[in-house]
Symmetry: C2
Subunit: 141 residues, 2 copies
Amino acid sequence: MAERKYRELIEQLKTAGLRPTRQRLALGRLLYGENGDIERHVTAEQLHAEAMSAGVRVSLATVYNTLHQFTEAKLLREVVVEPGRSYFDTNVDDHHHFYFEQSGRLQDIPSEELELKSMPEPPTGGRIRRVDVILRVDEDG
Amino acid sequence: MAERKYRELIEQLKTAGLRPTRQRLALGRLLYGENGDIERHVTAEQLHAEAMSAGVRVSLATVYNTLHQFTEAKLLREVVVEPGRSYFDTNVDDHHHFYFEQSGRLQDIPSEELELKSMPEPPTGGRIRRVDVILRVDEDG
DNA sequence: TCAATGGCCTAGAATTTTTCTAATTCCAGT
DNA sequence: ACTGGAATTAGAAAAATTCTAGGCCATTGA
């Protein structure tokens, strides 16, 4: 990971009130590092496995905690596609997703490519915090 | 539940290749019965509790199995709102949802009230099996 | 600089949600 | 009714997620 990105991550953590601990930096590096430009959709399990093979000793629980803290801090976005399968997306800009049911793969749809004609008002008067659109794609059958 | 609806349920089960067993009929009655017109969004846990207080002896596992079979048979639709929280919706027509994060409540949005401007093609060439839109509403904060 | 303090962080344990599979039940065809 | 065999049920196991006690690490004051 570029030195600049690394410093950036530390700053983002601090801003979010999260100490830049060894574990968080290691996971952050795995998430955004090396090829930090490409969109990533990882499960907690996958990231934990990555950490293991990278020689980073963290428990799965810490991976979950960290992913949720990152999500809270708007460094990640959580996408729930199926019961018992949620992904964390390194792309936090407004966008949507294709979900390929057979392979379990997720792919971003830029917000320009999928817009809503109109947005209904919440009946109870709250405000809409987020719009999640998932296009479920059947690749074979 | 009206006698007509009951017979209808039996027919739907048979058509789906599901035997009209005591448990399935009981759960079907709980889902569609009495006030079978109003939209319902139940979790497996909730339905199990209902069955219990109605004196129907089924295990939670059977409730899960039955809900998934009903979903497979297009008698229900599953909506995943959070990791570890999925609802089964008695409304199987095209429509979308408001999700109220504080209360955990789900509410239907008729498809006329929320339409997409355009539908992007799946890059891998499969076909879009379903479009899920969830508007996440924050009621207070 | 060093020790004490207190809040934050970690990960084992527990919980919750979901699925699997052996045993049972049920139905169709005698 | 009885039997064969597939379908169904639910206890047990697995998978996913969360909780919390204990440990660690900054910060402060000496």
